[in-house]
C-alpha cells in the first residue's frame, strides 16, 4: 500500500517534469490508498509547492514562469480531484483576504495567475478581479470584501499611472492603514523606485520573496536598509572588480 512519503516523493518528481496527466492519474491512484485525502494535500502537495517556492531563492536561472505555472496548475487540479473526498469541516480556515488583478489596459495574466495559485495554496482567500481592471474597481472590491491586501501587476511601464491612481484612492478613502498595497511586474523589477512613486507598500520579484513578506509582515517589519533582490543584482554589477 502507498505511504505518504512515497506519494510525496513521486508527486514531486512528476510535477518537476511537468507531467500533467501523469500527476492527475497518480493522485487518483493515491485516493485508492489508505492515505487520508487531507494528508495528500497538506503533507503531499503542499510540501511539493513549498519545495518549488524555495527554488526561486536560487535566482532566476533556477526557475521560469512556465515552470511555476505548471506546478501551480498541477497542484490546483490535483487538489480539485481530492476535494470531493474530504470530510466536511476539514478545510482549513482561510486567512487574510487579498484582492488581485492587472491594472486597466493590461492583459498580461501570467504573473497574476501564478501568484493566485500560490496564494490559494497558502490558504489566503483571493478575490481575483482578472485583467484590465479600472482603479475604482479595486477600491470597490477591497471595501466589499473587507480585504487586507491588494495586489496589482502590470507589464507595461505606462500603466503605472493607473496603479498610482489606486494608491491615491486608497489614501482618499482612508484605506491606507488597513490595506497593504503590493505591486508587481517588470517595471517594478527593473526600477524599484517606482514602488514608492505609485504609493505602494511593497513589491516582490518572486513567489518566495512575496510569501516571506506576506507572512513575515505580520511578525516584523522589514529592515529599513533592506534592498530588494533585483536591486541587489544591479548593485552587484557595479561592484564587480
Amino acid at each position: 500500500m502507498m505511504k505518504i512519503q512515497e506519494f510525496k516523493d513521486t508527486f514531486y518528481s512528476i510535477a518537476l517534469k511537468r507531467k500533467y496527466n501523469e500527476a492527475l492519474s497518480f493522485v487518483e491512484e493515491a485516493l485508492e490508498s489508505d492515505i487520508p485525502p487531507q494528508k495528500l494535500i497538506t503533507e503531499g502537495i503542499a510540501e511539493t509547492l513549498k519545495q518549488f517556492q524555495s527554488f526561486t531563492d536560487e535566482g532566476y536561472e533556477a526557475v521560469s514562469a512556465f515552470q511555476l505555472l505548471a506546478i501551480g496548475k498541477i497542484a490546483e487540479d490535483s487538489i480539485e480531484l481530492i476535494k470531493p473526498h474530504l470530510e466536511k469541516g476539514t478545510n482549513a480556515e482561510k486567512k487574510d483576504v487579498i484582492v488581485l488583478g492587472t491594472i486597466e489596459s493590461d492583459f498580461h495574466a501570467l504573473g497574476k495567475n501564478i501568484l493566485k495559485l500560490f496564494l490559494e495554496m497558502n490558504d489566503f482567500q483571493v478575490i481575483d478581479l482578472g485583467l484590465d481592471v479600472p482603479p475604482k474597481e479595486f477600491i470597490k472590491a477591497i471595501q466589499e470584501n473587507n480585504a487586507n491586501y491588494v495586489f496589482i501587476s502590470t507589464m507595461m511601464l505606462h500603466n503605472i499611472l493607473g496603479i498610482k491612481r489606486v494608491g491615491d484612492l486608497l489614501k482618499q478613502k482612508n484605506l491606507k492603514e488597513k490595506v497593504k498595497f503590493f505591486v508587481g511586474g517588470a517595471p517594478f523589477n527593473y526600477n524599484y523606485g517606482l514602488v514608492e512613486k505609485v504609493g505602494a507598500d511593497e513589491s516582490a520579484e518572486n513567489v518566495t520573496e512575496l510569501m516571506n513578506k506576506l507572512i513575515g509582515s505580520k511578525k516584523e517589519k522589514p529592515k529599513e536598509n533592506e534592498k530588494p533582490s533585483r536591486f541587489k543584482k544591479i548593485l552587484r554589477f557595479f561592484r564587480r572588480k
Partner: protein
C-alpha cells in the same frame, strides 16, 4: 538639428559597421542601438494612434530620429500587437506608452490546428508596414542596416490567447504544440518574406516568451530552437533574437543552435558571463536598463555606459544597446546623452 556631438571619428557607414561587427571583422567603433519606438509621435505632437496610422508618418518619424541621433540602424517597427490585428484583435493605444495587444481573440489551442493562417498580402495593416520598409529602403539602403521587426512564432500564441492559456496548453497538450508552432512559423515566414523582398536587411524576432524568464531550458531546446532553425531555412535574411527584456543567460551557450546572428540579453543578465558563454559565436546587443535610464544623471549614465562598453567591447561582436524599447517619458536629450557618452568609449582607435 542633430543632438549628437560625436561621430567625427567615424570611418565606416552604419551598414558596414554592423556587417563587420556581426561577422567579427575590424570596425571603427562599436555600433550604438538605443531602441526607440514612438518618440517621433511625441516630437510631432500627435497621438501614437495617429502616428501609426500611416506609413508616411512612420517613415517621417524614422527620418526624424536619424536627423536627431544619426542612429546605427533604421527600423520599420510599429508595435508588436500590430500582427494580432490580422487575427481580429484590437490594439490599445496610450498617450504615454507603446500600443499593446487588446483582449485575446483565440479561445482555444485547436484554433491553430483547425484554421489556415490569415493572408497578410492585401490587408491594410500589412501594406502599411511594407510601405514603411520601402520608404526606408529608398532613403537608407546600403547606408544603414534596415531592421524589420516582428513577433516570434513561439510568442505569438501568448498574445493571441493570453500567456497563461498558452502555457497551460504547453503543459496539458504537449502533443499539439508542434502543429501550433507550424501555424505561427508559416505566419511569421509570410510576414517576413514581404519585408525581405521590400529590401529589409535583418529580421528582428521579438520573443519574450522564448526566454529563460518564461521557459526552462528543455522547452527552449524542444520547441524554440527548431523554430529558428526552420525560419533560417525559409528566410533569406539574418535573424536577431530580441528578448524584450527577458533573461537569456541560461541559454547563452546553446543559442548558436538557433542560427541567429545576435541576441539582446536582459539588463539582468551578467554581460561578462554572457560574453564568455557566447564565445564569439554570435553578436551581443546589450544591455542597458531601458526602464531606469530616464532617471540617470549624466555622471551615472557615464558610469553605466563606460562599464558596459568595457565589458562588451573586447573581442568585438558587441553592440551597445538598450535591453528593450526606451519608455516614452525619456527625453530626446537623455537619449542624446546616452549616445554622446557612448561615443567617448566606443571607438577602437
Amino acid at each position: 538639428m542633430s543632438l549628437i556631438e560625436g561621430y567625427e571619428k567615424d570611418e565606416m557607414n552604419a551598414l558596414n559597421r554592423i556587417l563587420a561587427t556581426v561577422t567579427g571583422k575590424e570596425t571603427d567603433r562599436i555600433p550604438i542601438f538605443p531602441m526607440i519606438d514612438a518618440l517621433p509621435a511625441h516630437i510631432f505632437d500627435i497621438s501614437t494612434e495617429k502616428y501609426y496610422s500611416s506609413a508616411e508618418n512612420v517613415v517621417k518619424g524614422q527620418k526624424k530620429l536619424q536627423e536627431l541621433f544619426n542612429l546605427d540602424y533604421i527600423s520599420n517597427f510599429y508595435y508588436l500587437a500590430i500582427e494580432t490585428e490580422l487575427f481580429g484583435m484590437n490594439s490599445l493605444f496610450f498617450e504615454n506608452g507603446s500600443p499593446n495587444a487588446g483582449k485575446p481573440s483565440v479561445q482555444d489551442i485547436d484554433f491553430f490546428l483547425e484554421n489556415e493562417i490569415p493572408q497578410v498580402q492585401g490587408t491594410e495593416v500589412y501594406q502599411k508596414t511594407i510601405q514603411t520598409t520601402k520608404g526606408l529602403v529608398e532613403e537608407y539602403k546600403g547606408k544603414k542596416p534596415i531592421l524589420s521587426v516582428q513577433a516570434a512564432p513561439f510568442s505569438l500564441p501568448s498574445m493571441l490567447m493570453g500567456s497563461s492559456e498558452w502555457f497551460e496548453a504547453l503543459l496539458m497538450y504537449p502533443d499539439k504544440i508542434t502543429e501550433v508552432l507550424k501555424f505561427t512559423t508559416d505566419f511569421a515566414e509570410q510576414w517576413a518574406q514581404g519585408h525581405i523582398e521590400a529590401g529589409a536587411d535583418v529580421i528582428v524576432v521579438v520573443d519574450g516568451v522564448g526566454t529563460a524568464t518564461s521557459i526552462p531550458k528543455e522547452v527552449f531546446q524542444q520547441f524554440v530552437i527548431p523554430i529558428y532553425q526552420d525560419l533560417n531555412e525559409r528566410l533569406n535574411a539574418p535573424i536577431v533574437f530580441y528578448t524584450a527584456g527577458g533573461d537569456m543567460l541560461p541559454f547563452a551557450e546553446i543559442l548558436p543552435e538557433t542560427g541567429t546572428i545576435g541576441v539582446f540579453p536582459s539588463g539582468n543578465d551578467d554581460l561578462e558571463t554572457f560574453k564568455k558563454k557566447a564565445a564569439g559565436e554570435y553578436t551581443i546587443f546589450g544591455n542597458i536598463n531601458n526602464l531606469e535610464m530616464g532617471d540617470w544623471p549624466h555622471d551615472f549614465m557615464e558610469k553605466v555606459v563606460k562599464q558596459t562598453i568595457e565589458v562588451g567591447k573586447p573581442g568585438g561582436k558587441f553592440v551597445l544597446a538598450t535591453q528593450h524599447m526606451i519608455p516614452h517619458g525619456v527625453t530626446k536629450e537623455k537619449i542624446a546623452d546616452f549616445i554622446n557618452t557612448a561615443l567617448k568609449y566606443a571607438y577602437y582607435h
